[in-house]
């Protein structure tokens, strides 16, 4: 058995003929697929309800406290120009950007609304902090339970050590991997059966840095948990800093999502999507092996 499928040593159809048409491997086991989709759902709901919560006070600060009279990291508001035109204004460290239609001022049911993020990306679409909070906390618990379940399973099944932690050889080849990614070259054959080094590092950073940061900064915004675990305030430099970090890390997770989707599309969207639904993944044929001149 020489097959090194990503989540499983088991191959569905090992190459039996001299010229295999397309090798299909069992790439993602059931637990990975379930937790992946549950995680995707949680992150989507958490993002949209989180933006709803942000809209209740569309300003960010640094330190323990912050409201209108304090220095702002970010603001999103509607304003009027000298000529009386309503505009959406976003400020980042005092730098002003006109963001009419997107941030600060956007349309809701054909009316202009003074709101940080537009209706189409908040949950619920209308301004409703209490409902946003209900969605957010329910899916926060689901997200944490799913993450813990995945983490424990991955530890015991050696998913982390086998599939995610880069090998020394992986790390040595990081330069080449960066070049491959930049040139949009995707691995084929044997190399496509395992995660490449940038993929491994990206997943590890998301799993062990970004997602835990979201949970911890979220906890730091709770006055109850600040009493129980005041260390959180020390780590994140106060409740308002935690709120700002929570917002920024959410942005990094969105960035990861965009790159993730681009990579899926470049690597063959249907094959990739199928592998995360049924587990079965068709290995892209090795160019050398199929090259008639080879």
């Amino acid at each position: 058995m020489s097959m090194a499928a990503i989540d499983s040593p088991q191959a569905i159809s090992p190459p039996k003929s001299a010229r295999p048409k397309r090798e299909v491997i069992y790439r993602h086991r059931l637990w990975v697929r379930l937790s992946h989709w549950l995680n995707a759902l949680c992150l989507l709901v958490l993002l949209m309800s989180g933006l709803q919560i942000f809209n209740a006070h569309s300003e960010l600060y640094w330190g323990a406290q912050g409201f209108e009279i304090f220095p702002k990291v970010l603001t999103m508001h509607a304003a009027r120009t000298v000529s009386g035109r309503a505009v959406g204004l976003t400020t980042v460290f005092g730098h002003r950007f006109f963001t009419t239609g997107l941030f600060g001022l956007s349309t809701y049911h054909a009316h202009l609304a003074n709101r940080g993020f537009p209706a189409w990306i908040t949950l619920p679409s209308w301004q409703d902090l209490s409902t946003g909070r209900r969605w957010h906390f329910f899916f926060a618990w689901l997200f944490v339970l799913n993450g813990l379940g995945y983490g424990l399973w991955s530890l015991f099944s050696r998913h982390f050590s086998r599939d995610l932690i880069p090998t020394v050889a992986d790390l040595r080849g990081i330069g080449r991997s960066i070049l491959d990614h930049a040139l949009l070259r995707h691995p084929t054959g044997e190399a496509a059966k395992r995660y490449n080094v940038l993929q491994r590092l990206a997943y590890l950073v998301v799993m062990f840095v970004l997602l835990p940061l979201m949970v911890l900064t979220g906890m730091t915004m709770s006055p109850g948990l600040d009493a129980a675990f005041p260390q959180l305030l020390w780590v994140f430099d106060g409740r308002q800093s935690a709120r700002t970090i929570h917002f920024c890390v959410a942005g990094l997770i969105v960035l990861f999502f965009v790159v993730h989707i681009v990579e899926v599309i470049l690597a063959g969207p249907l094959n990739e999507l199928r592998s995360m639904i049924t587990g079965r993944y068709a290995v892209p044929p090795d160019h050398k092996a199929t090259d008639p001149h080879g």
Binding site: A64, P223, R239
Partner: protein, 254 residues
């Protein structure tokens, strides 16, 4: 070519699906049964925090005088314009009486001077609004636990309700409630001073509740009566507070 078509199909499918998802999410936000399911998280939040936040449990962080905000942000009611309240203001609150009643052995009544003569606690704490902002101020007042011990809780006492003077519209007076773990917490005070000055009207004169391990809407202003009850189901909208009746969680430790 086939790949191109399938990519386009996937894209169109994706955009269509997200549109459906959006309107679907709004439908779910309107559905009372879905919202009841989501509300279970509020109970989990409460139970989880009560594991670590007991009556004798940890204190909310306290700050240095230098941390006090230049002005304390005014939010919610800034002036209860009722005739009763105006009469209290006219006497500079000398006719004010704080009543402690309900499931207690000895119902009590305190003037503002009575409360000021009792042992006081001063704390510099961070006020966290549910909207997201925070403001640090110094509060001085009498511990609620002290009054409750003096009144003596009767069997069945589970919650402490605060009936306030501010009219939230249509004669709906503000009210709030907390459990006994928070009621007997040392930082839970009935404050009569903010930043060393008598509590301003905009901040709840003459008495504002401080429950430092919870969010701003629990910090009831203009407290007139304290009722000890076994359940708040028959009060107001039945959810234990004005904002709770509008859909906010009763336990606001998060």
């Amino acid at each position: 070519m086939a790949d191109l078509i399938s990519r386009r199909a996937a894209l169109i499918g994706g955009v269509g699906a997200s549109g459906l998802l959006l309107s679907g999410c709004d439908q779910l936000s309107h559905s009372p049964s879905v919202q009841r399911v989501l509300e279970t998280a509020a109970t989990v939040n409460y139970r989880a925090q009560r594991l670590v936040l007991t009556a004798n449990g940890p204190l909310a962080p306290e700050f240095k005088p230098a941390d006090i905000a230049p002005t304390f942000r005014v939010n919610g009611s800034a002036y209860p314009g009722t005739d009763d309240y105006k009469r209290l203001m006219d006497t500079n609150f000398s006719t004010y009486r704080l009543v402690v009643e309900g499931l207690v052995h000895h119902p009590l009544s305190f003037s503002l001077d009575d409360l000021r003569k009792l042992p006081s606690r001063t704390q510099i704490t961070r006020h966290d609004c549910v909207e997201g902002w925070s403001c640090i101020g110094q509060w001085t007042g009498v511990q609620l636990g002290l009054l409750l011990k003096a009144a003596g809780l009767a069997p069945g006492a589970r919650y402490v309700v605060f009936r306030c003077a501010d009219d939230m519209g249509g004669g709906n007076l503000y009210y709030e409630s907390i459990d006994l773990a928070d009621a007997f917490h040392p930082q839970t005070i009935l404050s009569y001073a903010l930043n060393g000055q008598p509590l301003p009207v905009a901040h709840g004169a003459p008495i504002r509740l401080r429950v430092e391990r919870q969010l701003g809407y629990k910090q009831a202003k203009y407290v007139m009566r304290i009722q000890v009850v076994d359940s708040f189901a028959r009060l107001g909208g039945g959810k234990g507070g004005f904002w709770e009746d509008q859909g906010y969680a009763w336990y606001a430790g998060i």
